[in-house]
C-alpha cells in the first residue's frame, strides 16, 4: 500500500483517529508521518530530558499502529496529551477520564499496576456503589423487557428510580 499523503512511498505507519466518536484511518509512510507532526515523536530514543515524557512519546516504528482521539484534549481543562507528556502533570481530575485508554500502559510502567485496590472514600464510595448497582439493574431490566417479563421490569424500574434519587441526594446534599 502506498502512503495516503505523498502517494509515492510505501505506507508503513497506521494512524487511527477517533474524533467525536468518528473513526478515520490513515496509512502513511514514515517520512510523512514525521512531517505531519500530529504525533509527538521521540526522535532520539536515548535522549530522556524527562523520564515520564520519554515513556509517553510513541516511537515511530514501521509496522506499528497508533491511535489518536478527539484532538487529544481534555474537555474540562483543555490540556493536550502532548502537553501532559512535556510537563508530566495532568491538568485536572477529568484528564484521567479523557486519556483513559492510554493510561493503563503508563500506570503499569510506573506502578506495576493500573488498578486501585486501596482506600475508598466513605461518602463518594457510597455513590460509586449505587451507580454500579444502577448499571446492573438497567442490564437486568433490558433482559426482562426482551423476555417480555413486564411485572419484573416494572419492579426493576422502581428500584432504579429509588437508587437514582438516593445517588442524587448523595451527590448534591451533605456538602
Amino acid at each position: 500500500m502506498l502512503c495516503q499523503n505523498c502517494g509515492e512511498r510505501t505506507a508503513s505507519v497506521h494512524v487511527t483517529r477517533i474524533i467525536n466518536g468518528e473513526k478515520t484511518e490513515l496509512y502513511l509512510c514514515e517520512q510523512c508521518a514525521r512531517e505531519k507532526g500530529e504525533l509527538d515523536f521521540a526522535t532520539d530514543p536515548f535522549s530522556f530530558h524527562n523520564l515520564l515524557a520519554g515513556i509517553l512519546k510513541p516511537e515511530i516504528h514501521p509496522g506499528r499502529s497508533f491511535i489518536q482521539t478527539d484532538g487529544d484534549q481534555c474537555k474540562n481543562c483543555q490540556m493536550s496529551f502532548a502537553e501532559f507528556g512535556r510537563i508530566g502533570r495532568f491538568g485536572c481530575s477529568e484528564c484521567y477520564n479523557e486519556f483513559d485508554f492510554r493510561l493503563d500502559q503508563l500506570l503499569r510502567r510506573i506502578h506495576g499496576s493500573a488498578r486501585h485496590t486501596g482506600k475508598i472514600p466513605e461518602r463518594k464510595g457510597k455513590t460509586i456503589l449505587i451507580k454500579k448497582k444502577i448499571k446492573e439493574l438497567r442490564n437486568e431490566l433490558e433482559r426482562a423487557v426482551a423476555k417480555e417479563e413486564f411485572e419484573r421490569a416494572a419492579e426493576l424500574r422502581d428500584r432504579i428510580r429509588e437508587l437514582e434519587r438516593r445517588s442524587m441526594f448523595q451527590d448534591g446534599g451533605e456538602g
Binding site: 495532568f90 499496576s113 486501596g118
Partner: protein, 352 residues
Amino acid sequence: MSLRDLINKELSKWMLAPGPESDVVISSRVRLARNITGIPFPNRATPEQAKQVYNQVQKALEDRTAFNLKLVDLSRLSEIERTAMMEKHLISPMHAEGGQYKGVAFSEDEVISVMINEEDHIRAQVLYPGFQVEEAYRVVNQLDNFLESKLDFAFSEKYGYLTACPTNVGTGMRASVMVHLPGLNLANRIQQMLQGVSKLGLTVRGVFGEGTEAQGNLYQISNQVTLGRTEEEIIDNLNRVTEKIIENERYWRQQLLKERKDDLTDRIMRSYGLLMYAHKMSSEEAVRLLSDVRLGIDLGIIKNVEPNVFSELIVLTRPGYLQKIENKTLKPEERDIRRAALIRKRLRLTQS
C-alpha cells in the same frame, strides 16, 4: 529570651520528645495527596479557581471539633519565615516558594500539616518522632475522613485518588522514615543497603546534599508505588524494610565499637571538640559533625548530652532558621559565625 525558651518556641513540639527506635529512626511521616473534583489542579488553575480551593478548604477547617488546625496564608509570610517552615518539614520546598492562594494549616504541636494548592489541591501529612509509621497513618487517615466529609474529592473507582502527577495516583500516599545511618556508612555498607531497598519498591535519598553522598548520614526512605497496593500493604513493606535497616545499623555500630573503638572514639571526640570551640561553621560541616556526636551519644561515648540536641540543631542551624532566629537576612559568612555560636551555646546548655 533564654535559649531554652527560644528552642521551645521555635521548634515543633514533636521534635522535643524522642520517639521509639530513635537511635536510628529520626522521624516517620505519612502524607496523602487529594484534589477537589472538577477544579483544575494547581498547575493549571486560574487564580479564581485557586482561590475557590483555598476558600473551600478554609471553610472545611473551620469545624474544629475533630482537628484544631490553624491556617496560615503563605503570601502573608516573609521568605525567611517560609524557608524556616520548610526546614522543619512543615511545608515542602515547592510550597516554600510561596504564591497566591497557597496556604498551610497545622496543629499546635505541628504533628499535622495540610498544604493547600501545592502540587495537588491538598497535601495532608502527619509527622512523628521515631519509628511510628502506622500511628502517623492512623491519624492522617482520620484527618482524610474528616476532610472528605466536607469536600468532594476526585476519586475514580479504577484509579483511586486522582492526582496531578501520575506517580501519586491511587492511594495518593507517601509513607517515609528518616533514618540516621553512620554505622552502615563507616562500615562501607551503604551502597548495598541502597541497592537492596530500591529492589523492594522503595526509594532512598539523602536528606541533605545531592547524589549518593548524604550529609550527616541522614536518609529518607519512602514507598515508590502508590497504585495497586493498599495503604496497609505499603506501610507493612516500609516497616519491614526499616526494621531490617535498624537491625543492620545497630549491628555495624556494635562491630565498629568492638573492632575500632579507639579510632571511632577519636573521630567522635574530635567532632565534638570542633562543635564546642569552632568560631565559624558551614551548615554542611555542622550536619557532618553533629552526626558524629549523635553516634557518640547513642554509643555511650559522649555522656551528659541529650540525644535530642542532634535533631534540634540540625533544624536550628539551617540557613533559613538561623535568619529567622536573628530576625534578619545574614550573609553566608555571618551565618557561619552565628551558627557556630548557637551550637556552642546549645551544647553547653545541655552540659550544665
